[in-house]
C-alpha cells in the first residue's frame, strides 16, 4: 500500500490564502503610505534611526526659525547705526562749517542748535527697540539704555549693561546677537554724545579753535561707529550662510528619512501583482481540489 497523503488538503489551501491575504494587505499598506516601515516591528533599527532623524529635522527647523527671529532685530540695529553714521556725517559738515573764521556768533549759535537736533536723533537711534526690547541695552533690554542727564558731561548717560546674548545656530555653534550700546557709543576718545556735546558747546561759545578740536572728536566717533556697525553686518551675513546650510541639511535629512523607511514603489507594485497571480492560481487549485470527483460518483446505483 502506498504512502497515505492527507485526503483533505483544503485546510492547507485556506491557510495559504490567509498568508497571501496578509502579504497583499502589507503591500497595499506600503503602497498607500509610501513607507516600507509602518510600525515599529517592521524594522526596529530603521524606526530608531527615523526617530533620531525626525528629532534632527525638527531641530533644523527650529534653527531656521531662530535665525528668522533674530534677523529682524539685527537688521533694525544695523539700520539704526546707519542713521547714526549719517547723522555724524552731517555733524562733521556742520563742524567744518562752524570752523570757518568768517562766521558770526549768532551764525555759530544757529549751527549749534542743528548739532543739538542731530544729537537728539542719534539718541533716538541709540534707544531703538525691536518688539519691545531695546537693542543697544545689553541684556538690560527692558528700559531705554541711554538717558539724557544734564549733570553728565556728555548730557547722556548709559544705563544698560554689558551683557551679550548668544543663540545656537547649529548644534555646538553659537553666535552673539547683540552689542552693548556703551561699546558703540561710549568708546573712550570716540564717545559720540561727548563729541557732539563738545561741538555744540564750542559753537555756542563762539570758540573757533574749540570747534576744530570737537570736529576731530566727531570724526573719531564717526569712524568708531562705522567699525562697530560691521558686527551687525557680519552677523547678518553669517545668519544668511547658516540659513542656506540649514536648508541643505533639511533636504538631506528628508532624503535620509526616505531611505530609511520609504517603500520602493516599483518593487512593491511588482510584488503585489505577483501576489495577485499567485492568489488566482491558488483559488483555482482550491476549486479544483474541492470539485474533484471521488469514487462515490462512479458507484453503480441499483
Amino acid at each position: 500500500m502506498s504512502l497515505r497523503v492527507n485526503p483533505n488538503p483544503s485546510l492547507n489551501l485556506a491557510d495559504s490564502l490567509d498568508l497571501l491575504n496578509q502579504q497583499e494587505s502589507t503591500a497595499l499598506e506600503q503602497l498607500s503610505s509610501g513607507q516600507s516601515v509602518n510600525e515599529p516591528a517592521d524594522n526596529p533599527a530603521a524606526l530608531a534611526a527615523l526617530i533620531q532623524n525626525h528629532a534632527a529635522a525638527g531641530q533644523t527647523d527650529q534653527y531656521t526659525q531662530s535665525i528668522a527671529s533674530v534677523q529682524g532685530a539685527l537688521q533694525t540695529a544695523d539700520a539704526a547705526l546707519n542713521t547714526v553714521v549719517t547723522s555724524l556725517g552731517q555733524a562733521l559738515s556742520l563742524a567744518t562749517e562752524g570752523a570757518n573764521g568768517t562766521l558770526t556768533a549768532s551764525q555759530r549759535q544757529a549751527i549749534a542748535s542743528q548739532v543739538d537736533n542731530l544729537q537728539q536723533q542719534i539718541l533716538l537711534a541709540a534707544n531703538q527697540s525691536y518688539q519691545g526690547s531695546y537693542i543697544f541695552g545689553g541684556t538690560a533690554s527692558t528700559a531705554p539704555p541711554f538717558v539724557a542727564i544734564s549733570t553728565s558731561p556728555s548730557g547722556v548717560s548709559y544705563v544698560g549693561n554689558n551683557g551679550v546674548n548668544s543663540i545656537e545656530l547649529a548644534p555646538g555653534e553659537t553666535a552673539a546677537i547683540n552689542k552693548p550700546g556703551d561699546q558703540i557709543f561710549n568708546i573712550a576718545g570716540a564717545d559720540v554724545f561727548q563729541a557732539l556735546q563738545d561741538l555744540s558747546n564750542a559753537l555756542s561759545a563762539n570758540n573757533q579753535s574749540a570747534v576744530a578740536t570737537a570736529a576731530t572728536e566727531v570724526q573719531n566717533a564717526f569712524n568708531a561707529v562705522g567699525v562697530q556697525r560691521t558686527f551687525y553686518g557680519a552677523t547678518l551675513q553669517r545668519m544668511q550662510t547658516m540659513d542656506t546650510f540649514l536648508s541643505t541639511e533639511k533636504v538631506e535629512l528628508s532624503q535620509q528619512a526616505t531611505q530609511l523607511v520609504g517603500a520602493d514603489m516599483a518593487q512593491v507594485a511588482t510584488n503585489l501583482s505577483h501576489l495577485q497571480v499567485q492568489r488566482q492560481a491558488l483559488v483555482q487549485a482550491e476549486s479544483q481540489v474541492l470539485g474533484q470527483p471521488n469514487l462515490f460518483q462512479y458507484m453503480p446505483v441499483p
Binding site: D42, G58, D61, Q131, E168
Partner: protein, 458 residues
C-alpha cells in the same frame, strides 16, 4: 459438517459486513468533523471447528472498531499548539502597545519632546517676549500630557490583560473538568471496547483546546485515562479528578497571580499557551516599557528643574521648579505636570537681567545632554521603541515558524487519521459485494436444505 454449519458461517459474514458497513458509514458521516480519527473495522476469523481430522473455518467476526491515530503525533501537535497559543496571545496583547509608539505614523512622544526643547530655543531669540514664554509653558504641558497619557494607556492595557488572564484561567478550569469527566467514562468501559473511540477523540480535541491556553504535559494511564500536569509539574487532571487553578490579587503589583490546586503560585512558571503569552506581556513587556517611560520622564524632569532653578525669572527672582517634582517611588510619567502658570516666572535669564537668554539656551541644550541612563532623551526614546519593535518582530517570526510546523503536523495527522472518501467508497463497495455474496450463499444453502427435505418424494 452440516448444511446448517455453512448457514451460520454465511450469517456471520452478513453480520460482520453489516458492522463494517456501519463503520464505513460513520467515517463518511464524520469526514469533516474536527478531531475525528477514521475508524477501521477489524475482521478476524473465529476459532476453527475440528471434525475428525478435518478443520473447518467458522466464518468471520467483527472483533473491534479501531480508531487510527498516532499518539506521538497528537502530543507534538499539542506542544506546538501551546507555543502557538502563547505567541498569538503575546502578539495580540502587544499590537495596541506598539501603536502607542508608532513613530512611523507620527504617533508617540518624539514630536512633543522635540517641540518642548525647541520652544526654549525659540525663547532664547527673544527672552522677554511673553507670548514666546507662554509657548514654552504650553509645550511643557503638551509634553507632560503626552507622557501621562502614554503611561495611562499602558496601565490600561496591562489591566485589560489582567482580565484576560482571569478569563483564561476560567476556561482552563472548565476544560479540565470536562476532560476529567471523559477520563471517568473512558476508564469505565473495558479496555478493548470499541465505544471509547469517540470519547478519546473528544478528549484529544479538549486537550488540544487546553494546550492553546496553558502548557500541558500528558501522561497516559493503563486504564485509558490521562493525567495532565503543567510542564512545571502542577497537576491539572488526575484520573477523574480535576484540579482547578485559582487566581488571587498580588498586592504589590495589583495583578492577578495564578495558583495551582495545592496553593503554589505558578504565575511565572506558566511557560506556554495563551496564559503564558498574556502573563509575559502583562508582567514583563508592558511593565518594562512603563519603567523606561518613567525613567525618561524622571530624567527630563530632574534636568529641566535643576537648570530652571539655576536661572532667573523676568523680574530677576531665582527660578524654581518647571515641572512638578516626581513623587517618591518614581512614577514620573503618569504624574508629569508643569507647575509654572505665569509666563513671567519662566527663568530664561542667566544673570538676573530680564533680557538675558543664557538659561533658555542652557535649557534648550539639555536635549543634547545624557539625561537618561547615559543617553540623550531622543536616543533613549528611540532605543526604547526599537526594543519594543524587536520584541514584536522576534515573536512574529517565531509565530510564523510555529504555525508552519503546526500546519505540517496537522497535515501529517490528516494523512494518518483523516477520512478519505475514495477509500470509504471502495470499502463500501467491498463490503456491499461481500454482503451480496454471503446472502447468495444463504440462498443456496436454503435451496440445498429444501432438496434435502424433499429427498425420496415423488
Amino acid at each position: 459438517m452440516s448444511l446448517s454449519g455453512g448457514l451460520w458461517t454465511a450469517v456471520s459474514a452478513l453480520n460482520a459486513d453489516e458492522g463494517a458497513l456501519q463503520v464505513t458509514a460513520n467515517n463518511v458521516a464524520n469526514a469533516n468533523t474536527p478531531g475525528y480519527s477514521r475508524q477501521l473495522p477489524v475482521l478476524v476469523e473465529p476459532p476453527p471447528e475440528q471434525l475428525g481430522n478435518l478443520i473447518f473455518g467458522t466464518g468471520v467476526t467483527l472483533e473491534q472498531v479501531q480508531s487510527v491515530r498516532d499518539g506521538v503525533l497528537e502530543l507534538r501537535i499539542q506542544q506546538q499548539q501551546q507555543q502557538s497559543g502563547k505567541l498569538d496571545s503575546f502578539l495580540n496583547a502587544l499590537q495596541p502597545t506598539q501603536q502607542l509608539f508608532n513613530e512611523a505614523q507620527g504617533a508617540g512622544l518624539e514630536s512633543a519632546l522635540g517641540a518642548f526643547f525647541n520652544s526654549w530655543q525659540q525663547l532664547s531669540t527673544n527672552p522677554t517676549d511673553l507670548p514666546t514664554r507662554q509657548q514654552v509653558i504650553d509645550a511643557g504641558q503638551t509634553l507632560a500630557t503626552a507622557f501621562s497619557q502614554t503611561a495611562a494607556s499602558l496601565a490600561g492595557q496591562q489591566s485589560d490583560l489582567n482580565q484576560s488572564v482571569t478569563q483564561a484561567v476560567a476556561q482552563v478550569n472548565s476544560l479540565i473538568s470536562q476532560i476529567a469527566a471523559l477520563n471517568v467514562q473512558i476508564a469505565s468501559l473495558s479496555p478493548n471496547t470499541s465505544g471509547d473511540n469517540q470519547l478519546v477523540d473528544q478528549r484529544t480535541a479538549l486537550i488540544g483546546q487546553l494546550s492553546q491556553l496553558i502548557d500541558v504535559s500528558n501522561i497516559a494511564a493503563s486504564d485509558g485515562s490521562v493525567t495532565l500536569t503543567t510542564t512545571s509539574g502542577s497537576a491539572l487532571v488526575v484520573g477523574g479528578q480535576s484540579m482547578a487553578l485559582t487566581t488571587a490579587m498580588n498586592s504589590s503589583t495589583g495583578m492577578q497571580d495564578v495558583f495551582d490546586a495545592q496553593g503554589n503560585d505558578i504565575t511565572i512558571k506558566i511557560a506556554a499557551g495563551q496564559l503564558g503569552g498574556l502573563i509575559q506581556a502583562r508582567d514583563q513587556t508592558i511593565p518594562g516599557l512603563r519603567s523606561q517611560l518613567d525613567a525618561l520622564a524622571n530624567g527630563i524632569i530632574a534636568a529641566v528643574n535643576a537648570q530652571h532653578a539655576a536661572g532667573f525669572t523676568l523680574s530677576g527672582a531665582a527660578g524654581g521648579n518647571f515641572f512638578a517634582p516626581p513623587p517618591a517611588g518614581g512614577v514620573g510619567a503618569a504624574a508629569m505636570a508643569v507647575v509654572i502658570t505665569d509666563p513671567a516666572q519662566i527663568a530664561a535669564s542667566s544673570d538676573g537681567t530680564a533680557g538675558s537668554n543664557g538659561n533658555a539656551v542652557a535649557l534648550a541644550d539639555l536635549r543634547a545632554q545624557n539625561l537618561v541612563a547615559g543617553q540623550p532623551p531622543d536616543a533613549y526614546y528611540a532605543n526604547m521603541v526599537a526594543n519594543l519593535g524587536s520584541t514584536i518582530q522576534n515573536a512574529t517570526a517565531a509565530q510564523q515558524a510555529t504555525s508552519q510546523v503546526l500546519n505540517q503536523l496537522q497535515n501529517q495527522r490528516g494523512a494518518v487519521s483523516g477520512v478519505s472518501l475514495d477509500e470509504e467508497a471502495a470499502n463500501l463497495m467491498k463490503y456491499q459485494r461481500a454482503y451480496q455474496a454471503a446472502a447468495r450463499v444463504v440462498t443456496v444453502i436454503d435451496q440445498m436444505t429444501q432438496w434435502a427435505v424433499n429427498l425420496g418424494q415423488d
